[in-house]
Symmetry: C3
Subunit: 231 residues, 3 copies
């Protein structure tokens, strides 16, 4: 058994973490600190059953999932994959294979979620992150370390704020878009879907869908297609 803050894992619902990378380790830590779910183990395409990460075993591959749901009495899952588009494809596959499995969220105890903020299923919120009142965070989003989403801002499904990324109030980030580490959106900025704003950038104007933009002020440097690498 891994070190954890869980006192009575017997009574908790079991979940599986899909992925076992560094990003998955961050999510495991959050789930343990929250103490809402018991982690039954991990799924990873590229590793052998029985290998371990932070004390949790690789239980199998994606095709084993329906069987594992029964064996481990799995109630939920978190897709612990950092790339937004890859995460969406895996989430769809998992849902198709196991319709009964719920996607759960993970929120670090040292994150701050304001009043009337909503957090969709499958979304993960890291240490030091802040979502202010009346913000709306879609399904399968990432609010990474020390990032902030300010009041009344909206993140579409499968979008992400990188570590320390920050928005002003009333911003919109479209589905699948990634705001990279350290980037900033000033108050009221709208970012389209499938767009990437590069590390350390500052968006002073709206950015369309399917773009890569960076710099301070951020400028569009090229188009991108869904699933293209970020930069």
């Amino acid at each position: 058994m891994p070190n954890s803050l869980q006192e009575n894992t017997e009574a908790m619902d079991s979940i599986v973490i899909i992925g076992s990378s560094g990003h998955a380790k961050v999510i495991i830590d959050i789930v343990e600190q929250e103490g809402r779910y018991k982690i039954a183990g991990l799924l990873d395409l590229n590793r052998k059953v029985g290998e371990q990460t932070l004390g949790y075993q690789i239980l199998g591959r994606h095709e084993d999932l329906p069987q594992l749901v029964t064996t481990h009495a799995l109630k939920g899952a978190i897709v612990a994959i950092g790339d937004n588009f890859v995460r969406s494809k895996v989430a769809v596959r998992v849902k198709e294979a196991c319709p009964s499995l719920l996607f759960v969220s993970a929120r670090h105890p040292k994150a701050s979620i304001g009043r009337d903020a909503s957090v969709g299923e499958g979304t993960v919120i890291m240490a030091g992150a802040t979502a202010n009142p009346c913000s709306s965070i879609g399904r399968f989003c990432i609010l990474n370390t020390n990032s902030s989403l300010d009041h009344d801002s909206v993140m579409g499904d499968f979008s992400s704020l990188g570590p320390r990324a920050a928005t002003g109030g009333n911003c919109r980030i479209g589905s699948y878009s990634a705001i990279a580490i350290g980037a900033v959106l000033i108050h009221g900025i709208h970012i389209g879907e499938h767009t990437v704003l590069g590390a350390g950038s500052t968006a002073l104007r709206n950015i369309d869908s399917f773009k890569v933009a960076y710099g301070t002020p951020a400028k569009v440097v090229r188009d991108r297609k869904p699933g293209d690498t970020y930069l």
Copy 2:
């Protein structure tokens, strides 16, 4: 009654929030989480009595305030207006109309205020913000989401740090000046009064009063007068 963390609002002093924008919603959330004051309602020039924000009613307009102080047994107020100059004008008007009303501060439980740091009346400190030891925060300031004011730094009255803005130690920010979202002052930088440092900027040298500056390193791009829009 709105959802709140307040257990016994009967025993608490009542305050009024002046403003009802997104910024006001952030402040309402903080006041609720602190549980020091009961919010009697909101004032807003542009809305009708009885309209609601986060479950609190618009009680009236500014000219109704003397009457409302009696009706609602108001002890204090917070001016929940993001623009530094507008906030100062409203604060003066409120003080003139109701000299007995105290301006109170609001500090998010997940903010960190260091030892021997001082926080003036009417100042609001958002989630994730840090004010380190021996810093001095004036009256009616804003330390916005995840911002930080480092040791021995001083903020003049009606000045503001935007979301994620950060200073080194021994900095000074003059009255009415705004350090925009994501901007940085290195150790020991002095910013004059009524100056705006733009989003994502990095100030490596002092900046005079009545300037707009931005960039990394920050350069003065034009003069501004008190009350000019920020950028």
Copy 3:
């Protein structure tokens, strides 16, 4: 006695803080909030015995340390000096003079240290800082206000993250290197030893040892020798 959160300082081991600057004040605040050690007093080359900082007396100079260890029953020390190279020289001198003295760490209660993250002796972690799971922080490091070190990243001895500096996952920062206030390393970046990355910079590529680099993207602008001033 200074104001403190310590309830029973009698039972705690006594430590000495070496340095009495603003940086030392931040560390004093953390040690008090942690409540693990009792601060017996401060050492400072440039001040007179009996002068005070935050209520703690200057006990003497470095050459008095062996005597003070006995007089004050000192068990540990923290070198509260912000410059990485100067801090290393002082740490060596202290260790030579008093081999029995342990260098202790200080971690603000509002910092977040992830699972399986390691923190070396003499390291200080400020309010709002985050070290994610499986990160490794060497000896005598500084994670300053609201900074973040992401999963699996490594900081060498005597290195530092300035206020709000942030790394992606799997980064490496060599010994004695300083990532200045507000700077960013994207995922997987390696920084050599004795290198300085300037304020507000964004490192998109690795940077060698003994360099000064800045800008977004960060470029090497000159060489530096151990002990050179940062910029």
